[in-house]
């Protein structure tokens, strides 16, 4: 457990260095961008000194990471707002979108994946697989634009875009999230169907499944009793990987639906060269992805007892 924690911290530190190097290498000078036309070299130098971007690379990195370790992510170069204050209200937006989107994807993929596996030689199976292929080919932003046109502009069932925080009521919150969650979740669900299908197909070839069937269980009961847990191992791995994809997908969806989430913040700040904010957001995303990977590792041991003993060795 201690070793795992060590790896976690080391990965995070390595990631922070990579983030810093890459953002540092981006072309452009934020001092020139802030001051605009006509800045004299003295003014530019004074601005760089004020922001601290004139210091040697390693000093800047040490200063940043030192602050991060104390929970201080710095302040926006433009507005002087603490990075943590910029990020905080957006966590609710992005996590609502990602978690609900993933939940919807699972709700779609589990039953349909099972159908695609069990009925793989019937029309139901073919149809499901074809639908999954079709769904995967739809870009999420396009699905978003289409949903807005049909359900917001034409039918007026939901707002076209924007966000209403949970604190202002469940109703407005939910109505603002329906379309983005569907756009994100449906496409992800289509991707997941194929993984669920192949995980179940593997189970169908196993001896325990044949045994369960031979004692008179129906296909569905055998699959539900033995299949789900065995398939879960590979599904959890896929889910861990997919969650990172969902977060990336959420960035696109946030743009289409004008949601004030982490993705929108990231794109805005990259465009503006407010690198201190960019670093904070990317580091947070890396942290979440690492946390998910750790959770996946831990869940292996919970799902499959055999891995528990090998883990200790």
């Amino acid at each position: 457990m201690l070793a795992r924690l060590g790896i976690f911290v080391a990965s995070l530190l390595a990631a922070s260095l990579v983030i810093f190097v890459i953002t540092q290498a981006l072309p452009g000078d934020v001092a020139a961008a802030i001051l605009g036309f006509g800045a004299t070299p003295e003014q530019l130098a004074a601005k760089r000194a004020e922001l601290g971007t004139d210091r040697p690379f390693l000093i800047q990195y040490a200063d940043w990471i030192g602050g991060v370790l104390h929970g201080d992510f710095g302040r926006s170069w433009y507005s002087d707002i603490p990075v943590a204050t910029l990020i905080a209200p957006r966590l609710e937006v992005t996590s609502s979108l990602v978690l609900l989107g993933l939940a919807l994807a699972l709700v779609i993929a589990l039953p349909l994946g099972a159908v695609a596996a069990l009925e793989r030689r019937q029309w139901q199976g073919f149809t499901t697989s074809a639908l999954a292929q079709f769904g995967m080919a739809i870009p999420a932003f396009w699905a978003g634009i289409l949903l807005v046109f049909v359900f917001a502009v034409t039918l007026r069932w939901f707002p076209a875009n924007g966000y209403s925080p949970l604190a202002r009521g469940l109703g407005p919150w939910a109505s603002h999230l329906v379309l983005p969650v569907v756009a994100l979740g449906a496409v992800q669900g289509a991707v997941l169907i194929r993984y669920v299908r192949s995980a179940f197909l593997e189970v169908l070839g196993e001896d325990y499944y044949r045994t369960a069937r031979s004692i008179g269980w129906t296909r569905w009961r055998a699959l539900a009793r033995h299949g789900v847990r065995n398939a879960a191992l590979s599904l959890v791995t896929v889910l861990g990987l997919q969650l990172a994809t969902v977060i990336v997908g959420a960035i696109v969806i946030e743009r289409v639906f004008v949601l004030p989430g982490l993705g929108s913040l990231l794109l805005d700040m990259v465009g503006r060269h407010d690198l201190i904010v960019v670093r904070g957001v990317v580091l947070l995303l890396v942290f979440v992805v690492l946390l998910i990977n750790a959770a996946v590792d831990i869940s292996y041991a919970l799902i499959d007892p055999r891995l528990r003993t090998s883990g200790r060795a």
């Binding site: 605009g36 926006s76 966590l91 937006v93 875009n161 949970l166």
Partner: protein, 538 residues
């Protein structure tokens, strides 16, 4: 063969704990702002939703709330006149009228302006707007590291003498008509000196609205300043929502989420608002000129500066553009009416120089260097450049990208190959094109009032160095109001005849409002502000 292991009781417990832990993580992620702490940072959460509110869709989102910190119109659009007030304000005809200053007069030598402040004027925290506050604001622009444009304006001020609480004498180093106009913009903002330190993230103005919540990138929510010293606004809450995608803004307007689109960025969508029972489309003018900038090849005055820190690299533009025949050929190669129809759905007005029709010194110059591709080819051959390759580096903004494609195809027809290289507007366009003049051609809208003056500055990125224009501009600025108009008119003509740039069209002010909303100014004469002080809902 796989061996199945049943679930024993302790394992179940471990699993339950793990599930609880995962749930806790996700709760922590979702609940960060829901937990009772007053961080109402998402879209105006502190204003009672039943209050009279106005929601405005806009595109140019400010990076900081301090309108003096950075260049460009984004910083002032939501705040100028709504939250921050200036000494004077321009009326619909573009003439200065009182705001914080009740009255003013210039000394006979034109060097000293005496401003009488409105004694009723207070900042939102209740303190009086005093002559000392005005002096403090001038000193701040002079001494702090603010936008260079404002520093240039305030560099003219040699002294700001407080006569009494409500009177200030501002003495200039040379007479300037233009300086008074500048006092209606960002340079003339009188900020509460108590708010200087936190100006980037909080406002400290004297206007009818104050900041409620700012969610950078998404929205600025303003609320009524109940202690306002002048005529109050007719809304309890005014929210500016920012859209990167014009389609999303249009959809929001159609679904009724927005009351106003402050300036339609996709004019081809104007037909969607044709239903006059629901919408009202207002078409007026702005100060914006969409300009095909040409690097005229004049040397920057700092090229030979002995101090290497101040030395600017030699002009990296194509030397062929220093030849007026080549520039004229570029102008004549472009069918500007067709361009306006293609790029901006024919909305807007053709102009022939850096002057918009609402400027007092406007003159129709669209006939100078008219569309004539044959003549363009002849001029290029005469100049020795029958074939020419130029870098066209537009800012990555919707109108500029569209215009760039159009311009490139028309230039190709006269033998000029324009390689289009779009640059992100804030970065790196501002530093590369505007800062270092590292371009041959570029496209951007210039929205500053009276920006004909930029052609009098040889250091501006046009790199246009014509002593006649510089002298005319200086003399116009130093003279009477009549002289100002007459001499700027002359300067505009010279610049047009020199083909110092191609003025593609004047940006229209296209506002879409819900039916029943009145008082929206037709012309955005100072494009710097979306002024809500006159707006009402029936």
């Amino acid at each position: 063969m796989t061996k199945w292991a049943g679930t024993s009781r302790p394992q179940r417990k471990v699993r339950r704990m793990a599930v609880a832990a995962l749930a806790a993580v996700s709760m922590a992620l979702t609940a960060c702002t829901g937990g009772g702490t007053p961080t109402p940072s998402v879209t105006g959460a502190t204003v009672d939703p039943t209050a009279k509110s106005l929601v405005i869709g806009a595109t140019a989102e400010p990076a900081t709330l301090d309108p003096t910190a950075t260049d460009g119109a984004a910083g002032t659009q939501a705040l100028l006149y709504n939250v921050y007030e200036t000494l004077v304000k321009l009326d619909a005809e573009g003439h200065p009228k009182p705001l914080l200053a009740q009255a003013w007069n210039a000394s006979p030598d034109g060097l000293t302006y005496t401003f009488k402040l409105n004694p009723a004027a207070t900042f939102s925290d209740g303190t009086k707007v005093t002559a000392q506050a005005v002096a403090d604001n001038i000193a701040r622009i002079q001494n702090e590291n603010v936008a260079p444009k404002l520093k240039t304006t305030m560099a003219l001020v040699s002294s700001a003498a407080v006569v009494d609480d409500a009177t200030i004498d501002i003495t200039l180093t040379k007479p300037s008509v233009r300086w008074l106009y500048e006092m209606a913009g960002a340079a003339g903002i009188v900020m509460n000196p108590a708010g200087f330190a936190a100006a980037g993230r909080q406002t400290a103005g004297s206007g009818p609205l104050t900041l409620d919540v700012w969610l950078p990138g998404d929205s600025i929510a303003l609320k009524k300043n109940t202690a306002y010293w002048g005529t109050p606004v007719r809304f309890d809450a005014v929210t500016f929502r920012y859209f990167k995608d014009p389609g999303a803004m249009t959809a929001s307007m159609e679904t009724g989420q927005l009351d106003i689109i402050s300036n339609l960025q996709a004019p081809e969508t104007v037909e969607q608002f044709a239903d006059t029972s629901r919408f009202n489309v207002i078409q007026g003018s702005t100060d914006g000129e969409v300009t095909l900038a040409i690097n005229n090849g004049g040397e920057h005055s700092n090229v030979d500066d002995p101090d290497p820190e101040k030395r600017v690299p030699r002009n990296p533009g194509n030397p062929a553009l220093a030849d007026v025949r080549v520039r004229k050929a570029i102008t004549m190669a472009i069918d500007r009416q067709a361009l306006l129809d293609t790029v901006w759905s024919g909305k807007g007005q053709l102009i022939g120089s850096m002057v918009v029709p609402t400027d007092p010194f406007y003159e129709d110059l669209t006939g100078v260097n008219p569309y004539n591709p044959d003549e363009a080819r002849r001029l290029l051959a005469e100049a020795g450049h029958p074939k020419l390759t130029l870098r066209l580096r537009p800012a990555a903004l919707p109108y500029a990208s569209k215009a760039a494609q159009f311009v490139a195809s028309q230039l190709a027809a006269v033998g000029i190959t324009a390689t289009v290289d779009e640059l992100g507007f804030q970065q790196p366009w501002i530093s590369t094109v505007m800062g270092q003049a590292d371009y041959d051609l570029s496209i951007i809208a210039h929205v500053e009032p009276h920006d004909i003056f930029t052609f009098a500055n040889p250091n501006y990125y046009w790199r246009y160095n014509n002593p006649d224009v510089t002298a005319l501009a200086a003399s116009a600025d130093a003279g009477s109001q009549e002289q100002y108009v007459a001499e700027l008119k002359q300067a505009a003509r010279i610049v047009a005849e020199d083909a110092a740039a191609v003025w593609l069209f004047a940006l229209p002010n296209l506002v879409v409002a819900k039916q029943g909303i009145t008082g929206i100014p037709q012309n955005a004469n100072s494009s710097l502000s979306f002024d809500v002080t006159t707006i009402a809902r029936a």
